[in-house]
């Protein structure tokens, strides 16, 4: 309740007509769903940020002697509410915001931040995006005021298809996805890139289903089976992914599933044994990537917050890179911080993260891993207490996931 109490006080303060003031901390507003159906995702993210700020920044001297703090603002997953919460944050003196869940909310926020900065050049705001992966956010809609620390949909597909290029067992591919922008982008990228890299691979089917509305995936599995596909590519997440995998197991479908989101936030639990040796994921990190510090950090985190599993390495990357940018710029002015972040090359546990200047998209090493029985050796840690964990199949270097950008950035 600490932060809630604080927020109600802050709110009371804003109600008492006090504008923003000077604070002895560097504060970042975390605008994400903290109530409603996606609250678990939002809460896990906020815990991650708080923990990362404490351990990776504040315990190491902070930012120019100041503490880095994250404060939650509940946008309830809604693009409109996101804007109201942005206003609330600005009122309370926040100059940095971060958001990750839902490209809708991210689009809303990037628009609102752009407009706010254009209309209030003396009180600019900077937006750190830690998980919204719509390529247009660093493409057509790219903004000087937005930085993305996660690889976008197309980069991830580039990495996946790079991996598939070398797997000559793949002959027939089926693409299934949720019928909305993300699903469309995944399908489009998969088709284009496979056509380039593996002319011999046949796309034997492509299906889109409405998001969150399919209960029984058996008919889709029957179709995949009938198509004879040995590989399935899906951008599905949440229940749409878990149900798909479960239905595949029920029907005895042996194809491999290449996924974006099988690794976290409840999916391993829901998928359970059904995913064994069939489900692959692409992430910037997972528990069984041998790392110096992150493994310990994750274990401590999981112990401290039972039921919340550390998932986002990029949260740690972002916190450290932002802190370094501020320290380098010797300023907490958003524009100065943005300039310092541009072109930054930062060493993390998995290698180098490069923030490309042209579109503000972070480039980082990525891992393809498969859901396997935890054995204490290569699969040292299981995922979400399921007894199954992720086994690395391939590492995609930072360079291999880079794609040209369509971004034409307006710079202040």
């Amino acid at each position: 309740m600490t932060q809630s109490t604080f927020r109600s006080l802050a709110l009371a303060a804003s109600l008492a007509l006090m504008g923003g003031g000077a604070y002895a901390q560097v504060r970042i507003a975390y605008i994400d769903p903290l109530s409603g159906p996606f609250a678990n995702v939002g809460e896990a993210g906020l815990k991650g940020f708080k923990e990362a700020a404490e351990i990776l920044v504040n315990q190491k001297g902070g930012i120019m002697g100041q503490k880095l703090e994250f404060t939650g603002f509940d946008n309830k997953g809604s693009p409109q509410e996101t804007q109201i919460q942005l206003k609330a944050a600005i009122d309370q003196g926040f100059r940095f915001v971060t958001l990750g869940n839902g490209s809708g909310a991210a689009h809303s926020l990037i628009d609102a931040v752009n407009k706010w900065n254009a209309r209030n050049p003396d009180k600019t705001v900077l937006f750190f995006n830690y998980a919204a992966v719509d390529p247009t956010l660093t493409g057509e809609k790219c903004s000087f005021w937005h930085f993305r620390f996660d690889a976008n949909t197309e980069m991830k597909m580039e990495a996946i298809t790079n991996f598939m290029e070398n797997d000559k067992k793949i002959k027939k591919v089926f693409i299934i996805g949720q019928d909305y922008a993300h699903g469309h982008q995944v399908a489009k990228a998969a088709k284009e890139m496979l056509a380039k890299k593996r002319k011999d691979v046949k796309i034997v089917g492509e299906d889109l289903h409405p998001i969150g509305r399919v209960k029984d995936f058996a008919p889709y599995i029957a179709k995949i089976k009938a198509s004879g596909a040995d590989t399935v590519i899906t951008g599905n997440w949440g229940n749409d992914l878990s149900l798909l995998i479960k239905a595949a197991k029920d029907a005895g479908l042996k194809s491999r599933f290449y996924t974006y989101y099988a690794g976290g936030l409840g999916t391993p639990q829901a998928m359970g044994a059904a995913g064994e040796n069939q489900v692959l994921q692409l992430t910037e990190w997972h528990m069984n990537v041998p790392t110096k510090n992150t493994e310990k950090f994750a274990l401590d985190f999981n112990k401290k917050y039972p039921g919340v599993w550390f998932y986002y390495l990029r949260v740690n990357n972002m916190v450290q890179m932002v802190a370094q940018a501020m320290n380098t710029a010797k300023s907490t002015d958003p524009k100065a911080v943005a300039l310092a972040l541009e072109d930054m090359r930062f060493q993390v546990d998995t290698g180098e993260v490069w923030m490309r200047k042209s579109d503000h998209q972070a480039m980082q090493p990525l891992y393809i891993s498969i859901f396997s029985k935890a054995d204490g050796k290569t699969v040292k840690h299981d995922s979400e207490g399921t007894g199954y964990g992720w086994k690395t199949l391939a590492t995609i270097s930072q360079r291999d996931s880079q794609l040209p950008t369509a971004c034409i950035m307006e710079r202040p």
Partner: protein, 425 residues
Amino acid sequence: MSPAILNRGRLAVWGGCLALALALPLVLKSGFIISLLCQIGIMAVFSLSYNMLLGQTGLLSFGHAVYYGLGAFATMHLLNAIGKGGGPLTTALLPLAGGLAGMVAGVVLGYVTTRKAGTTFAMITLGIGELVAACSLMFPAVFGGEGGVSGNRVVGKEAFLGFTWGPQVEMYGLIVLWAFACTVAMFALTQTPLGRMANAVRDNPERAEFVGYDTERVRFLMVILSGFFAGIAGGLSALNYEIVTAETLNAHTSGIVLLIAFVGGIGFFYGPIIGAILVTVMQIVIGGMTHAWLLYFGLFFLFMVLVAPGGIASLIAVQRNLWQAGLLGRMLPHYLAVTPPVLVLLTGLVGLIELGYALLSGDAGVGAGDTATRVLGMQLHLGAPGPWLTALAITGIGLILTRWIGGRLGVAWNATLATLYGDKA
């Protein structure tokens, strides 16, 4: 009761409200508050349009967001299509396009839905709402997919009378004007033959048929007109947020507008306005204080359904009637007497819920590992039985006291109401 006198009084009330609304930003300068007020204005129009169906025509709709959302998308697309060719004046008039879109949607969908009234109507609107919401995600070219459609409300180089609509406070002024115009129009509609026959159809559709009216036609027209105003509200939201996503037309939005209208009071024209203010403020202020706000909200709603189904407006109206009859004095001591036990009960309940939330969901910022949390500003240890027993005891005491004193309130209430309506009848 000559119409002229009535209108003069009404004119003063309406004018006063408009002046007050326009003057608010002079006092409340916070950007957050202005955003909140904008939201309230939009929701007021939206929920008033909803009440044209529920309160005035007796049609319970679970798909009203369709009109709102389509209005918003139409406005946004038009805004983008006009682009640089427009100016602040055209922008200010754009919500009208949203209204027309809502109206067209009303013609198409109303044709199907208004064949039935009552529960069947409710189910059909639910189904149609789902259908439209599902389809909206399938056509990214129209609905913008997950990212929605965004635009810039500042168009053209010249200001119109000094307004560009860029600053939020200018947008607020625009919303107030539109909301006021819509409210006047919707009120005027209640005073027309169609508006009155809508009431008649609500009260007794069979009788309405036997005085010459086609009830299906009355419902159909009301859906179309209601779609028009919902569309305007949608258009305002498009201009205000400068982004429209598929969420604006889904079941959640439909549910919220129902909540607002009901909590405010569907039996009174101004009920939904009260609802819009109350619900928006609750959502944002209580939502800012606790993550359990949805639960509080649901419980509050259930409480309203069971105890005050006429909504806040009906509670106000009854008090006013009591006041006019000189009976309010009889009830006041009871109200005062029941307040402390209710507060005790609420404290206990809130304590229990917050403890539960902190323990079971692990509130943000506090790990369940250290099992310490702050409830109502107190540092508590969740593992120990102390806080739980205290909260339970407070709830119990509150419950007993509320039942006891509330019972006496109930007796007095019934007696007073009997006097009030007994005199009248």
